[in-house]
Amino acid sequence: MNRQIRQLAAGLILCYVALFVALNFWQVGRKEELDARFDNTRAVLREFNKPRGPIVTADGVVVAHSLANPPDSRFDYRREYPSGDLLSNVTGYYTLSFGATQVERQHGDVLTGTTAAQQVRSLGDLLGGDVDSSGSVQLTLRHDAQNAARFFLGGREGSVVVVEVETGAIVAMWSNPSYDPNTFVNQDFEVAREVISELQEADGNPLLANAYQERYMPGSTFKMITTGIGLETGALTLASQFDRVREWVPPQTDDPIQNYRGSQCGGDLAEVFRRSCNIPFAQTAVALGPAAMIEGTRNWGLDEELPIDLPRPAGSTFGNTSDLDQNLPLLAIRGFGQNEDQMVPLHMALVGGAIANGGRMMKPYAVAATFDHGGRVLDQTRPEVWKTPLSPQNASIISDLMVGVAQSGTASCCIGLNGGVPVAAKTGTADLGLGGGVDLVHAWIVAFAPADAPKYAVAVVLTDLESTPAEAATGGRLAGPVAKGVLDFLLTGDGAG
């Protein structure tokens, strides 16, 4: 019988080897595949049973936090966003069934306390009785400034971005439409899917943070960049003179370029900048040539992703440049911000910020610092220069040109700040060229103040406005008051100091 017993032993060993192999297969071999399956909620479940730290604005308002559920709930915690849609484009959402976005995603490890530093520290805290290792994230955004931005945009579709010129810290970044994450984050898969797919199909793309994840035709605000390139290359000086004309035929075509609404426009640089003539900047672009314009726009950060500390940023673009030398009329038009030029609203605020900051364009950031559960700093964002498109002298020249725009140019109607705070601005009205009786336009303004000692740069864009000959939608008239409202609030209003 012993032979059979040995054979039996061998057989059982084989059985257990098979189990061991299968265990390896599931736990190691196919781990990634299984973890990624749509109906596998293990990772989220684990997270929802742990406290998740808060996201706090620069002025100390909690905009995302976890609350303990009543006992016997499916999960120990639920995620709430006390300010609803106000900061959801920055905080993002953290859902049971659909993952996380924005800060919730970017700093998920800090919020759950799984960074290496937190793990090491929490080991010590454990002995002290503190077992919650969840961290917190402090934004650079101010709740009050964000509220002001929302208030002054007044429910129209568009974006408002305010950055600190010296650091690149984002003070406010509001896009309308936005969404309220509370409507779906704690819901079951089916409900959440319905809400999210509704939001995905909604007009204006509420789930997208349009202020940094979308780009729009910039119109005349692009002239800041063309002017900057011209000054840097020497093609433009304050002494440059332009003919007063209604239209100009660029090379390689018979089709003339016109000024805004066919007006006659010309004079020195200050004059054409103040009145926002198109033809001088078209001529400057053609005079610079494709290569210089392309290189120049690259120096301003076009055609690359914005280096923001949030996920999936968009990048501004100068358009398709592959055979621009064969298409000089397009180059001309792009010189004043039409055709394929596309700018991200946040980038436009950075352009204003660079001019205000002596030519240094700072890296934008939305997270000021991260903290562990004990309030100790884990990481603090240090301001960094992203691009230096201008010399300080040229920055100062454009700054003066923009003060002119605010005082007596296209923005003069609407940007004058309370208390006589000096302000610099550039307007833009991007014609989407749909023709017919009604044009669709984007109305822009980029401004910074105080002009003599700049603190904040702001970019406002109102998108897809209907513009009629009777009532022209222009950047100065429509976007100007929004920028003024926000700057007044920050400099002399309730948000000052």
Binding site: A9, A22, D35
Partner: protein
């Protein structure tokens, strides 16, 4: 026969003779048992930290209680089965401990009940070792065990007594007590198989009955076993307990194969199994469902395949090192504390923890089969083989089901799963295995074969009678009367009928 020498040796001194080998085995067992208790205590603390973020308030009491129970079991082994293998008890204690921690972590309420069952389990272990002092004695009760086992199996089918839980009618309700008689039936039938086959294995192997080209054993020799097996299988299918059915089948085939030394029985078993499996697959929808889910659980991941898919997600989430005790979500898997407890362990302790469980069973299988190899008596050999097969195959069936190696059949994971019947039956089984192991060690001369408590008591009684008789001037007991009185001597090594076939 050595009986006479041994008796003579013991006769002189009532104190037990020392045995370095037995002492070393028991010391090994003591060390390992303490280690199992410490591992369990640490795991208990970690699981509490993981779930409630606090050191369990009753940790000292828990460890003391655990150590107390295990030391009691150890001391009883040291006293009445000191030659037995030193790894069986610690391995069972480790599995039991990990299982208990997992159950506590899954459901506090069940933990209290399981603690009670643990207490009873150890009590049954101790009781079995004390009552069954000679493994060979069991063979005498083969028919009682056969009918008892069959009765236990039938019990759940009785109206008013049996209860169907989760589709299987394997529970019996008597007042407040709920138990699965099948867990005990498998042990009874294993003992019956061992006793029956030990007696008749040569007759069965002789295969003198010619049916066409086939040479079969005489029907009268094979019939009782076939009846026992058919009975078990039919009842199991009637009770829809596929796992137990498979276990009985394997047990039967393995035991008859080992006993007869004829591989034909193994092959016949495989063919019979394939036939039965195919038949039930065509006839029973619940069998079809099981097979379908086994082949493709993914497309039914939200209904019928939910349990197995969640189990695999849990295992995958655990990965190599696990999520950590108390930090996973094993409750996602229905019946996590029962049949799917291995998935919970794999999730929270990872591949490493799962491998520890697999290794523990393999080591138990190794110790059990080593005992079988060392035994010189067919009954003990077959009994050790059968008991080991139960543990090894049962663990394989359920772990394999949980990790999709074989179709899932509901059955408990020995020592680990929640459940009183299972735990108590497995401790009973463990005690028998230890008893056989001790017996074979004695027979091999690892230690002197001193008298059991019962035998010493009988001897003392005999001596008393002899003295009394001496005082009254009667001749000392002998002749016919002495034969009846000395029944205990039949139980002495070499005296039972099973020994004759060695």
């Amino acid at each position: 026969m050595t009986d006479v020498d041994v008796l003579a040796g013991v006769d002189g001194s009532p104190r037990r003779a020392d045995s370095p080998l037995a002492r070393s085995r028991r010391n090994t067992e003591l060390t390992l048992v303490v280690m199992a208790a410490l591992i369990t205590g640490s795991a208990y603390t970690i699981a509490s930290l993981g779930t409630n973020a606090e050191i369990p308030p009753g940790i000292v009491v828990f460890v003391a209680f655990l150590l107390g129970l295990l030391l009691l079991a150890h001391l009883v082994v040291r006293y009445v089965a000191r030659g037995a293998d030193g790894t069986l008890l610690p391995l069972a204690a480790l599995l039991h401990g990990i299982g208990f921690v997992m159950i506590t972590r899954l459901d506090d309420r069940l933990a209290g009940l399981q603690a009670t069952w643990s207490l009873i389990g150890i009590a049954v272990f101790v009781g079995t070792l004390l009552v069954v002092q000679r493994a060979g004695d069991l063979a005498r009760y083969r028919w009682l065990l056969f009918f008892g086992g069959a009765g236990l199996l039938l019990l759940p089918l009785l109206p008013g007594l049996g209860t169907t839980i989760n589709g299987a009618r394997i529970w019996v309700n008597v007042g407040p007590i709920n138990f699965q008689p099948g867990e005990f039936a498998k042990i009874a039938l294993a003992i019956f198989f061992a006793a029956y086959l030990a007696d008749r294995r040569e007759l069965i192997a002789a295969s003198t009955w010619k049916v066409g080209p086939l040479r079969l054993p005489e029907p009268r020799y094979i019939a009782p076993i076939l009846v026992a097996w058919g009975f078990a299988v039919v009842v199991m299918v009637g009770e829809r307990d596929l796992g137990s059915s498979l276990l009985f089948f394997t047990l039967f085939v393995v035991m008859i194969w080992v006993a007869t030394e004829r591989v034909g029985y193994l092959l016949l078993g495989v063919v019979l199994f394939a036939g039965a499996a195919y038949f039930s697959w065509t006839q029973f929808s619940h069998v079809q469902t099981r097979v379908d889910i086994w082949i493709d659980p993914w497309s039914r991941s939200l209904d019928r395949g939910y349990q197995i898919v969640q189990s695999l997600y849990g295992l995958s989430d655990g990965g190599l090192t696990g999520t950590g005790l108390g930090r996973g979500n094993p409750n996602q898997v229905p019946e996590a504390q029962n049949d799917f407890i291995f998935a919970s362990i794999g999730e929270e302790l990872g591949l490493i923890g799962g491998t520890v469980i697999l290794m523990s069973y393999l080591l138990i299988v190794g110790a059990g089969l080593r005992t079988a190899l060392r035994s010189e008596r067919p009954f003990e050999k077959l009994l050790a083989t059968g008991l080991t097969t139960i543990i090894g195959v049962q663990a394989f069936i359920i772990i394999g089901g949980v990790i999709k190696v074989v179709p899932l059949t509901g059955i408990t994971l020995p020592f680990v799963s929640y459940g009183g019947s299972s735990l108590i039956a497995n401790y009973l089984l463990l005690a028998l295995l230890i008893r056989v192991s001790d017996a074979s060690a004695r027979r091999l001369g690892d230690l002197p074969d001193d008298l059991t408590i019962g035998e010493r008591w009988q001897r003392a009684q005999l001596a008393r009678r002899a003295r009394r008789a001496g005082r009254k001037g009667l001749p000392p007991p002998g002749g016919d009367a002495a034969g009846a009185d000395a029944a205990g001597a039949d139980a002495l090594p070499g005296a039972d009928p099973g020994g004759a076939a060695t």
